[in-house]
Symmetry: D2
Subunit: 349 residues, 4 copies
Amino acid sequence: MSQATQSFASDNVAPVAPEVLAAIERANAGTVHSYGDDPVTARLQAVAREAFGTGLLIHPVATGTAANALALACLAPPHGAIYCHEQAHVNSDECGAPEFYTAGAKLIGLPSPDGKIAASQLLAPLAHAQEMGVHHVQPAAVSISQATEWGTVYSPAELAALAAAAHGAGLGLHMDGARLANALVHRGCTPAEGTWKAGVDVLAFGGTKNGALAAEAVIFFEPGKAAAFERRRKRAGQLWSKMRYLSAQLLALLEDGLWLRHARNANGLATQLAAGLVRQGLQLAQPVQANEVFAHFPAELSASLRARGFEFYDWPGPPEATVPLVRLVTRYDQRAEQVDALLAAIRGA
Amino acid sequence: MSQATQSFASDNVAPVAPEVLAAIERANAGTVHSYGDDPVTARLQAVAREAFGTGLLIHPVATGTAANALALACLAPPHGAIYCHEQAHVNSDECGAPEFYTAGAKLIGLPSPDGKIAASQLLAPLAHAQEMGVHHVQPAAVSISQATEWGTVYSPAELAALAAAAHGAGLGLHMDGARLANALVHRGCTPAEGTWKAGVDVLAFGGTKNGALAAEAVIFFEPGKAAAFERRRKRAGQLWSKMRYLSAQLLALLEDGLWLRHARNANGLATQLAAGLVRQGLQLAQPVQANEVFAHFPAELSASLRARGFEFYDWPGPPEATVPLVRLVTRYDQRAEQVDALLAAIRGA
Amino acid sequence: MSQATQSFASDNVAPVAPEVLAAIERANAGTVHSYGDDPVTARLQAVAREAFGTGLLIHPVATGTAANALALACLAPPHGAIYCHEQAHVNSDECGAPEFYTAGAKLIGLPSPDGKIAASQLLAPLAHAQEMGVHHVQPAAVSISQATEWGTVYSPAELAALAAAAHGAGLGLHMDGARLANALVHRGCTPAEGTWKAGVDVLAFGGTKNGALAAEAVIFFEPGKAAAFERRRKRAGQLWSKMRYLSAQLLALLEDGLWLRHARNANGLATQLAAGLVRQGLQLAQPVQANEVFAHFPAELSASLRARGFEFYDWPGPPEATVPLVRLVTRYDQRAEQVDALLAAIRGA
Amino acid sequence: MSQATQSFASDNVAPVAPEVLAAIERANAGTVHSYGDDPVTARLQAVAREAFGTGLLIHPVATGTAANALALACLAPPHGAIYCHEQAHVNSDECGAPEFYTAGAKLIGLPSPDGKIAASQLLAPLAHAQEMGVHHVQPAAVSISQATEWGTVYSPAELAALAAAAHGAGLGLHMDGARLANALVHRGCTPAEGTWKAGVDVLAFGGTKNGALAAEAVIFFEPGKAAAFERRRKRAGQLWSKMRYLSAQLLALLEDGLWLRHARNANGLATQLAAGLVRQGLQLAQPVQANEVFAHFPAELSASLRARGFEFYDWPGPPEATVPLVRLVTRYDQRAEQVDALLAAIRGA
């Protein structure tokens, strides 16, 4: 266990936000019907509709992997193709969860240096699929991460272009929004503008990285895409009998905009950290648009910082890079002093 | 939402036990490594070994459906057969979760009036499978519920006979222990005697029905059966990044025997309720050995009780029954007065 | 290898009909486009439409297991329920093929003494599923065998009642027609009357048991149910590159009614055999309506016949039967003398 | 339908070799036991052992897609990773068959200009998987095509290096041998040297592209890898009841070395064709080592040839290529005059 003040390893090393814990405690009174037929879950549905300004369906689950994989299983048949960035979390870090939930759909990874995929990148693969007919899996969905795995953020215009390309070819658009709040805060746009108004059909809404205990949700903006979601969730063991405790966490984040305040804090610290690194002559590998900083650290620097208790991950960089790459993540629960302490340690090293 | 005091619908309408909530709060300090590399999870492993008196592996998940299905997927290949009671929860109430997790294994339901299956019931189906060769799914596992779906409890001798029959044919033995504590308390045997000493290979250990927020665990007594469990869990979206909060719940139940005290309370209330029903001339459909009472209630009685706010389920009974069947569940958080109130209402009706 | 003249074991011990082999040879000239874009396959489509008197889609595959499982996968989602007779071939003899192809749907077996299921048997399970909601797999299809595994044949009225019950609940109706020709000949009805006019949505059309080398087909009478069939077939390795040879077999059977002449011969021999058995005082277990005879043979009789080279299977009978059950199958390629020889041997024994 | 003499589209536009058809006819006498318990299948097992000089298991199936996918399902668990060339047939042209048969394993495509993968290419992905732990699918198998999709052929030394790298990391080695005969003929090595002696564990042995009607086989050189193959085959609908006709085809090819004579003819014609193209100043995209010629044809040339009745496929070439790429396939049943006719037409164009 590292010191709370010194970990820049991941958003999910953080504890639960006091407001979220308080909401769990408030929900802990009396008996209620199980499996979501309870007042907390009903209120979550209402609050989520208000936050996104539309008649969505929100379905809580406990992990982001489950949210993504269930969402994709509602978009893609077993013989379907899902286009995503080649380093997308769904493609690289979920041990084949989309393949499991879809019963064998195929993720087709598209390259780009910054984690985003462009609408134009869909043209060639879609034409190829068309030409190959039944020998090729059927194009079914596009999956993007917002913010991306490289800490960058799609603009609403970029999203709209992707959505138009996807919908034009009959594909659904899925967004892995584990860090959606960070993206919205960066772009300064509303939840509606950053999602359904830009064409997103299904959203994996992240809570755990942003202060929850274990709470994510699948949000369907296009109810027609939700076919059979509930049975898929049950069958996956993702339907909590004591649903109120899952709903309470999401409610605490959505009410009063806590999710956005959390993200604003994390984003601000990332900007502070990036600026400090640049001032010390270190090179950033990506623009900092959310709460992740990718920077080139000489190996001795990393070793020195780790010796003092700081935690962060080495990250696979481009083959041509000569200085190793590291990832530094800032969190909802960190403060400016902790970033300053890291910057001071770098100066000292 | 019903009154806390009047629901006999299910164990999972209950709130979280104060000790469990306190444990979550205690875990909520500082940063820790994610995905189970944390001190709470390490301590859970140690405490579980102590509680069961053996070198087991314990893997927390959030729901019983996930625990059962993951356990079965470690025992049965896609082309496997799993023998269970025809009304087993895994066969009837999990929307095909075992089929999903095993990639299509077949549950073969065996009948019996009391929810238990006997070792002798395996003989004919195993001989048939042998004779049919590749045309038949391959016998792979036996799955039992303890306590059963009819509130009855296998004796250690019954378990041992089943285990011997299963192991003799090369099959693993899975126990759905959503109500294991209730069964142990009824039999007065140790966790070891009620599980691995009687031949259980893999246990789905229940927490949620017994005071947790959402916490179950897959316990492997036979580590050789755990092959690839961890990747299956991750791929199913059942691996919590903030694992400490899942482990803390199970720890709170196991430490100091809270799980058994909870079960003792629930079992006692069921016995009290059953005795009261019999005294009023109502007929029980099953012996009461855990925290469930199955009784024949005339339709007018049920209607009258429900009109006063009491909650319980109608239950499918044997076709020959003339008086309808109901299920009444008692819980860790109920008190004798609540049972008395129900009995008084019955008397008044 | 038994003598051709003495096997009553199964339809599929038979060689290929000369007409079928000749059709394969005729197809064996020049190059054609692969994967079904060839004139033989085009002609099959036309001839099948004519034979069934409707605008169907016919898709050849090599085995009956594949035909059934692919058909069911087009009707039932992974979280679906398929209602069938508990001894249906799809449920008992295909090593879980439907579960594999559907990605884990659940077959729910309904009992009956003669292999048929009645429309009324669907009522209770459908009501139960409705009540259980997401905890229960979703009712999706009814699957029947025509002729049944007990050699009995549904009447068009029975089919129509089942179809009405299925369709009324939103379920598709699948017919395993491995022995459809035998059933049609018995009922004296047209292919149309025996299938789509009675409400069948998808038919697994049998060829192998009726004189083909290896040729079955999935026929969709309701094209809306065929969604994605072609990709499912390809992905299952059931799409032949040299499709002309598969199509040629089916064409040879359908043209000039060869399939019905074959079935008439086999049915006639079964009737002859059954009559002979009854004359000798042996008891039939089922009415003989197709090409299978189920009869009670004393163990010494079976042993004696087998010692003389006759082949047939022992069959699991009702537990209360005191005289063992055997199954005798007659074939398209057998002659009356062969049946007489068996009857004579029985007389002699 | 094109003229037999003018198609260079694919190996599978060809008719069945007369020897294969004769073998089917010879097998067509009398009744035999079904599902492979017949003398033809027994002889196939013996002849295959002789041809490969080792105690293998050979299991016939009808298509190459089925052979590959079944083989891979015996090597990789649902949570497994299969490393292959990014353009491998299993990855690109089988509509997700490996994902279907393995229940969701992940194919990880490795790039190379000539369709071969090198042992050294496995190092980085295996190290990455190791580092990622349960978040990454588990390395399970390496799959190669011999000859490759680019008509090139691994040397025994290249195979041995790959096998050593795979086995050293605990992975099985699968070979897609749809054109194995062409590869063996090119290298001048024995079947043993080209497969198991070089470390191949499981071979998809091709027959259809080489003169069969529809016949491939899964050959296990390492019987320990064959676990449950037979149930997987049955459940996939790939087990023919009239197995003798499948076995007869493979037997006809293996006996007397017909498979190698066929490949020698096809390879010779490809060499002849390639030489002719080069003489006319056209550029080859790949060395010609089997029966496929990849060449750059100006668009007008392709159009002119097609107008005269020649058939061949455009092929996706490297993005930097300015002259379009085409693929020309030569076959077991073609003759030198047909290649000369194509070359003459090119000269005339």
